[in-house]
Symmetry: C2
Subunit: 94 residues, 2 copies
DNA sequence: TCAACATATGAACGCTTGCTCATATGTTAA
DNA sequence: TTAACATATGAGCAAGCGTTCATATGTTGA
């Protein structure tokens, strides 16, 4: 991967963290997996808006999904996601 | 600071990392401070575009500036900036 | 198979953002 | 002060993005 590609992908990655709704969703998933409806209820958002954002987060590999019957459960993809969130938070709180 | 404010500020922070031009500028500053013209030359951008982005990065406290004669030198603000960039890069390269 | 529920998706709209172009401000040397 | 250089800024435009609304797809139990 050349440098230009790295820069583009890095900017792309941070773009997914650059929205309050997605941050809230990722924070909401820190305690473990949740289904779409629970996320929508918990964050007081429409099911549609949540689902759109979940798709974006999943496509970007920041979250995972698992179907169980009618429900689809989402969870954070790996510890990088948490680390990025926490480093950002450290910066904010400084 | 309440949670809503934290989320908004965190999203705001990542927004500044979410642009290839700003990433390139920050990478360009990793080796030490540089003046506006050197950045524009090094990144093959117009002086105006660079200056606009530098203002954004400085307002958001991701970079610092220091005037020396006609030139203004910019540098990364602190180690959080580097850490966020590096953690993001680790994620990309995984 | 059909009704009820859970989730996903497409279109459209309003808002934001990064660029260019033109111009303004700041600084030094003469 | 004035010319020359370095940097900053304002207006305007094109592209991208998050939401809502309407609808489609997927799944289960009867």
């Amino acid at each position: 991967m050349d440098n230009d590609t790295k820069v583009l992908e890095l900017a792309e990655l941070f773009k997914y963290f650059a929205d309050p709704t997605r941050i809230r969703i990722m924070f909401f998933l820190r305690d473990g997996e949740r289904c779409v409806n629970d996320i929508a209820d918990g964050l007081k958002m429409t099911q549609s808006a949540v689902s759109h954002q979940l798709k974006i987060l999943k496509t970007s590999k920041l979250i995972r999904s698992r179907r169980e019957g009618k429900a689809v459960f989402y969870s954070l993809a790996d510890e990088h996601v948490q680390l990025i969130l926490e480093t950002g938070m450290d910066h904010i709180l400084e």
